[in-house]
């Protein structure tokens, strides 16, 4: 049903959500068992389906602990040419990313994972997360600003 590579990829998705390998393992195991009880209609959708289950479980648990913020759409102006490509010109070193990673919200890490590792487009991310494209664009805009601000803060020994 799942290849080892797919399980590793799902585990990494869990790590992106939780930033904790043990929690990611639990999340993956729960989701896989849930998929086995009620498999998706198409085998092709297995990965996306499993990720959705992992995400829902994570949100349930996090909301229970009041850690997962409700998403709100920004009032800031979203231009039509915004896309995940807006992240492509950002360069960062490993230490900076490590420092930033834990400061990002789960949704921001999730978007980064889907963009960088799964190589999803904005539209595909919106479908995977079942969110309006505008919400994703807004998050991307905020994420880019945050990455740039915090990366420059780190490089100058600033506020992070």
């Amino acid at each position: 049903m799942y290849s080892n590579e797919q399980l590793q990829q799902l585990f990494r998705y869990g790590c992106a959500l939780t930033t904790n390998e043990q929690q990611a393992q639990d999340l993956l195991q729960d989701a896989v068992e849930s998929c086995l009880r009620q498999p998706p209609n198409k085998q092709a959708a297995l990965m996306s389906y499993t990720r959705t289950i992992m995400r829902n479980r994570f949100i349930d648990a996090a909301r229970h602990q009041q850690r997962f913020p409700q998403d709100t759409i920004d009032d800031e102006q979203i231009t039509l040419d915004m896309d995940v490509r807006m992240l492509e010109d950002i360069v960062i070193d490993e230490n900076e990313l490590d420092s930033l990673w834990a400061l990002l919200e789960p949704l921001e890490r999730e978007i980064l994972f889907l963009w960088a590792v799964e190589e999803y487009s904005t539209a595909e991310i919106a479908i995977q997360l079942d969110m309006p494209r505008g919400t994703i664009l807004s998050r991307l805009h905020r994420l880019r600003k945050r990455l740039q601000d915090q990366a420059s803060g780190i490089s100058t020994g600033g506020r992070v």
Partner: protein, 210 residues
């Protein structure tokens, strides 16, 4: 060293790896669960038939097993070949362009092994074009690109730490064993172990129809 954000995230995430033990437990659980519903819904006759089939299959397998290669070894070799060919055909951009193995070693700081030329690859240093981070069956790997000797095309060479628990038994050329050959999408892939490193390399000089 600064790198594009997507590459940095990819590298960071590739460091998270399920252990072979967890992977094996998970696969075992999946396989057990996949069989269970059929048993639950089977009628008595179906159940009896199923048990008989299992019995005869086990008997048949036990009789044939000494004459066959282990099936998990076959399937893992094919999985490796499939993954290597898939990424060979994708031809994603190299993260570092160099024909100097020392520069590559300097770049691939996240690997648990040392990149090295292989006795199985002629003119390694002259043919090396560069590399990128990748993974093989979930294990962090280096994906190198090498010019072919006869054309302008390139072959893909994977190197990763050889973990027997994950990859199963593979031929070790230091013990005078010959590389395994598998095919995927018409492309030949040779797989071997050398000095504790797993090598998997496409050979586009040969195709299925030859």
């Amino acid at each position: 060293m600064k790198k594009p954000l997507n590459q940095a995230v990819k590298t960071k995430m590739s460091q998270h790896t399920l252990s072979a033990k967890h992977l094996s437990e998970l696969q075992q659980r999946i396989q057990t669960s996949e069989v269970r519903p059929a048993v639950n819904h089977a009628s008595r006759f179906k159940l009896a038939g199923l048990l008989a089939a299992v019995f005869f299959t086990a008997l048949f397998t036990a009789m044939l097993l000494p004459h066959m290669d282990a099936p998990e070894k076959q399937s893992m070799v094919q999985l490796i070949a499939n993954e290597v060919v898939k990424n060979h055909l994708n031809l994603k951009p190299l993260e570092v362009h160099t024909n100097d193995i020392d520069s590559l070693i300097h770049y691939f700081t996240q690997l648990d092994f040392l990149l090295r030329p292989s006795r199985e690859v002629n003119d390694f240093k002259d043919r090396l074009m560069g590399g990128r981070y990748c993974s093989l069956q979930g294990i962090t790997a280096a994906q190198l690109r090498l010019k072919t000797q006869t054309s302008s095309k390139a072959n893909t060479l994977y190197q990763t730490e050889y973990r027997k628990a994950v990859f199963g038994p593979l031929p070790d050329i230091d013990r005078n064993q010959k590389p395994l050959v598998a095919w995927a999408k018409g492309i030949k892939v040779r797989i071997w172990v050398e000095k504790g490193v797993l090598f998997a390399m496409t050979d586009i000089s040969q195709t299925n129809d030859k």
